[in-house]
Subunit: 188 residues, 4 copies
DNA sequence: CATGAATGAGGGTTCATTCAT
DNA sequence: AATGAATGAACCCTCATTCAT
């Protein structure tokens, strides 16, 4: 009933396909078939395939950024990490394909300026958290982007296993995973 | 010796381009230009673009597998991990693009059965190592593929930073990274 | 009266756009926007884009034919030519784009039989006039369609200059032009 | 045997189709079929459909300009006109479709800067001729572009009749036509 | 052996036309 | 009656693949 019904179908289909096959291997006819709309319909809502992928990317980054925002001054570095980790978990729970922006290399040729800007914003927020952790001596003294890469890279690869059904998510499992990642970056 | 020269040129060019731009965004003329051969020449040595990418993938996996093979009975779990980690380091040192097979999702549509089989072989070897670690109580009690995902995911994402020049590799840096990864999966 | 209002809007918009951009470069949405109606509305009044262009063409030819009709027996060949010339002038004065049917090559692929028939009717009338002029020895002894082509071709090309603003129309200017054309075809 | 064999086929086919049906109504598959080449082949030699039409246009204008160039100081205005007229005749004799640039409105959206420049060059040459004619009092005192429009418009419309086979060209016929056009613009 | 000109299937995209509202 | 969202055929163009040289 909502006018954006078709838009949602298209975005959901695109997100899945882009994540599974990549931008270039995903064709507009594929998306149209998956979304059960005509190919022309996609162009009623998105100027081009590139626009579509950027909208998707930006929407993902923004939702994650929103979710991640919190008053870090009120929580410890340890709690901050738990917050980050369960943001990732919640985010991927909403959609198996939501971490699309993590799979996409940030210098992918199809990303536009807005996409870069939004990612930079998120990166900055994450960077500030990691910086504080290092200042307090709680986190390893490695560049923030390295700490991020370790956590996000590990989680991403892990979630690919979830998608293929090789691994099932349970509460205790998540708890242990969180510990893994935390142990990877904290000072011992 | 003479003709295999061209094969090498083609494979090196392909590896770089596939890793940098992805399989679909890389065209045969691009590879030919980069390798400084005619487009037709590529087809003299490889049946198709898909064949080429699979040969490349398999060659990568095999070289890595070969490098990884060692008599684990003679070393501790801790030493085994160091072996694994420095295999990754050595491998990427040979070519920035060598980890192509790690960047390629294992259910990528263009991988054929042989590629899957060779990857499975490597996975099995890695699995055995992780299994032993768990049996000895040294590693966390998580599925082996999860432990692998954490280590490889982290290293892979990290190496993407190296390729973009955001991070520089030094000996002490590698040592700390190795510890990160080890701390992520070992029992505390 | 009410619904024909929309028809008029659509036809006026079409005439302008078809003349300015050509049949193929003019889209139905363009016409709809220019006429300030919905795209669907155009199809309420015209079966198809081809129907529309033919109705337009026929209407133009018919209006011109009506204007051109006169009792030639009462006027001289010279006066007849002035009549023809000022028919062209009046016609273009009504709308800069009215000569659409002259700009359209008569073997344009989109013209249907009715359009051809109506043009033939006009051609016949013009032909009779030119024939008489030749019989009386006033006009050059060239095929009538040739005499027509000279006059119409010259006037048409001239009017394109008017549309681009390169030339301004004044009474004395028109008088001289008329003489040009007359001198082109009369016997000297 | 010449390497430009295919280029010639494509250009000839394009010229015909663009002239007969217009730029927009002519599709690349049509041109390919007419030229008896694959669609891809066209893109080996021409960047785009727009490039193709511009090359064609420029080639036409240049060949005509070359033909038209002469030492006007050595001939009278009357002789100059004969030169112009028989340039048109020769030009169209080489190919029925050679006057493509006359059929194309000079503000057609697909013409690029080079095309405009070349046409301006020709226009300037023609303008100088007409100017001289007016200075000497031989030609009517009308703007040069008007005099041009009359002659070129008349000839163009005339040649469309030739293409449809409605009119046959003979030497005496041409001689009379030349007189028609001359009488249209000369001072009486 | 090596090449690159030639090809056509299939990609992204547009737009004439339909139809539910 | 009027609309414009939805559609898919057909556009322009690319590129994996072939083959004559």
């Amino acid at each position: 009933m909502t006018s954006s019904n078709k838009v949602d179908l298209i975005m959901k289909a695109s997100l899945t396909l882009f994540t599974e096959r990549g931008f270039d291997a995903t064709t507009i006819p594929m998306i149209a078939a998956q979304a059960d709309v005509g190919t022309g319909t996609i162009y009623r809502y998105f100027d081009s395939k590139e626009t579509l992928v950027n909208v998707l990317y930006q929407e993902s980054v923004q939702r994650f950024t929103e979710k991640f925002k919190t008053d870090f001054s009120k929580i410890s570095v340890r709690e901050g990490f738990q917050h980050l980790f369960y943001c990732l978990v919640d985010f991927t729970k909403e959609s198996e394909y939501a971490l699309f922006f993590l799979e996409t290399n940030k210098d992918a040729y199809f990303l536009n300026e807005t996409s870069h800007k939004l990612l930079d914003e998120l990166t900055k927020m994450l960077g500030e958290y990691f910086q504080r952790g290092k200042s307090e001596g709680v986190l390893r003294n490695l560049p923030s982007n390295v700490l991020m890469a370790i956590v996000l890279g590990a989680y991403l690869k892990l979630y690919q296993l979830v998608r293929t059904g090789s691994v099932e998510i349970t509460k205790p499992f998540l708890k242990e995973l969180e510990l893994c990642c935390w142990d990877a970056i904290r000072n011992h």
